[in-house]
Amino acid sequence: MGDSLLSVKGLSKEYDGFEALRKVDFSLESGETKGVMGPNGAGKSTFLKLISGEIDVTSGLIKFDGRKITNYSVERRCRQGIAYVPQKPSPFPTLTVKDNLRGGARAGSYLPVPGREVKLDSTLDLVGLSDRSEVVASELPYGEKRLLDLAMSLVTRPRVLLADEPTAGVDNRSAGRITDLMIELTKSDTPAARGVEGLIFVEHDRNVLFEVADEVGFLKAGKLLVEGSPEKIKERKCVKEYLSEHGAFLGYSRGDQRAGID
């Protein structure tokens, strides 16, 4: 546990007495992609927000790259290499796509970073928004907002990316892009990766979840009930129950895309 890229121990969060997360232990190794699933209100976003530093822990410990970061501010964690893409699309509405990205590329400094223009262009390419660079973000369709969101966090050069339901409510084309991107992200030899060592993502769509994640955690009522490889976790009783209650899938599915438009 000492050498993990990121690890949390006994992580708990209370909102005015309501326990949203209870004593979660979790770790992420370098090169690993972990998915988190669970019913609405299970505490998935709370979990990611705690790691990103957006909200303070009630108790517990967060370690990143051997350092205890539990008390670091959100901006400091970003500069150290933890980037969180929120659940709701959150590009800056009045800025152009390019300016949104530019803001991310400086990651906390207003001084220009050498060579960043090139990186911006290639990142735009990566998410397929090259021809959108002068469009104002509020005018983008939902799926492209999500792609831009992801790109903004990527240009901060994170070592760990936290993505909160990146494909939820997104059209098939964009969801396919996002899924591909997540798959490529932790493979260090692809252009997409750029130093991203680990990915934690929350996902409702089981097809995306099981395709992208090396390991999956199941969160319910604030507790991390089980964790394991997709094959293993599908056989667990509580997960089976949850999956059957949930119908076939929610939102985008890659199988759906193959059978359909393309």
Binding site: E54, F92, D99, R106, Y110, P112, T156
Partner: protein, 311 residues
């Protein structure tokens, strides 16, 4: 940095017209126009924190008054005019960073109230501290009579520099961070920025411009009084900026010009009911052009351009 050709044309055209204006204007209106330019700089100081950085500050009069008094105390003759003006701007900028440091821990309605209270507090202190400020009677600056046209061109030149400087600022990487904060503090933080730090910088730059305006105003009017700190001056810049178009560099100037001249002509015609008329006009314009005069002009221009190019 790219500046649209249209903007450059409008800027040069207005500079040209304004430079030629004294030929056509009488004394009274020349003074009014000089004042209007100063109000424009003052309003721009508010636009920087509100229109660009998203903080509804009601405390701009604090910096305006401070700049005016720094000017009064450091003025030593028309030959060395630049130094007291620079001092007025710099001292207010320093005060701006202190004020910024104090007020950025609150936001929204509380931010508005805290800055308002600050303006009221400074005004009360200025009234009480007669030994320093001369209270409501104020202090006279022995500026002599350099001539109305001299003053006008001086203020026009400084306004042009201020506008260019501000355009460069808002197009710079620093300006981008301001706009990000305006759009979403949360996302700005998530991208690694210390939002507080940048808000303090915005406040400091805003203090710089407001202090410069205060210094200029006490120069052309030849005095400064406790009334310079009055919160209603803070209210003026809010109205001018919103009316002209917040988040634009030209907006504050247009708003200030419009209200100064409308107020002036209405008061000549209708006497005591002019505050009501001005108030009605403001409400009407804000309802009809939510993005200010600049926003409306922009829309009209886009329409014409579309029509011109056909579809």
């Amino acid at each position: 940095m790219r500046i649209r050709v249209e903007y450059a044309v409008v800027f040069l055209l207005s500079a040209f017209i304004l430079a030629a204006t004294p030929v056509f204007l009488g004394k009274f209106h020349l003074i009014l126009l000089t004042e209007t330019l100063i109000w424009g700089i003052f309003a721009l100081s508010f636009d920087l924190v509100y229109g660009y950085t998203g903080m509804l500050s009601f405390g701009q009069s604090v910096f305006f008054g401070t700049g005016a008094y720094v000017f009064v105390y450091s003025f030593e003759g028309i030959a060395g005019l630049v130094i007291p003006l620079v001092l007025a701007a710099l001292v207010s900028a320093v005060l701006g960073s202190f004020v910024g440091w104090a007020v950025v821990r609150v936001s929204g309605a509380r931010f508005f109230l805290v800055t308002l209270v600050l303006a009221i507090l400074f005004h009360l202190l200025a009234i009480e501290g007669r030994w320093l400020t001369g209270g409501d009677d104020g202090l006279i600056v022995p500026v002599g009579f350099p001539g109305l046209e001299y003053n006008y061109y001086l203020v026009l030149g400084i306004s042009a520099l201020t506008v260019m400087g501000t355009v460069i600022l808002v197009k710079s990487p620093l300006g981008l961070v301001f706009k990000m904060i305006r759009d979403s503090e949360r996302r700005t933080r998530l991208l690694g920025y210390s939002v507080k730090k940048y808000k303090i910088i915005a406040f400091s730059l805003s203090g710089l411009l407001a202090g410069l305006a205060g210094g200029l105003y006490s120069y052309i009017s030849g005095f400064a009084s406790a009334g310079f700190f009055h919160w209603s001056r803070s209210a003026d810049v809010v109205i001018w900026t919103i009316l002209g178009g917040a988040g634009t560099v030209a907006g504050p100037f247009i708003g200030a010009a419009l209200l100064t001249f409308v107020r002036d002509s209405l008061s000549a015609i209708t006497g005591k009911i002019y505050p009501v008329l001005v108030g009605g006009l403001i409400v009407f314009s804000v309802l009809v052009f939510p993005r200010g005069v600049i926003g409306m002009l922009g829309e009209v221009y886009e329409k014409i351009k579309e029509g011109w190019h056909g579809r």
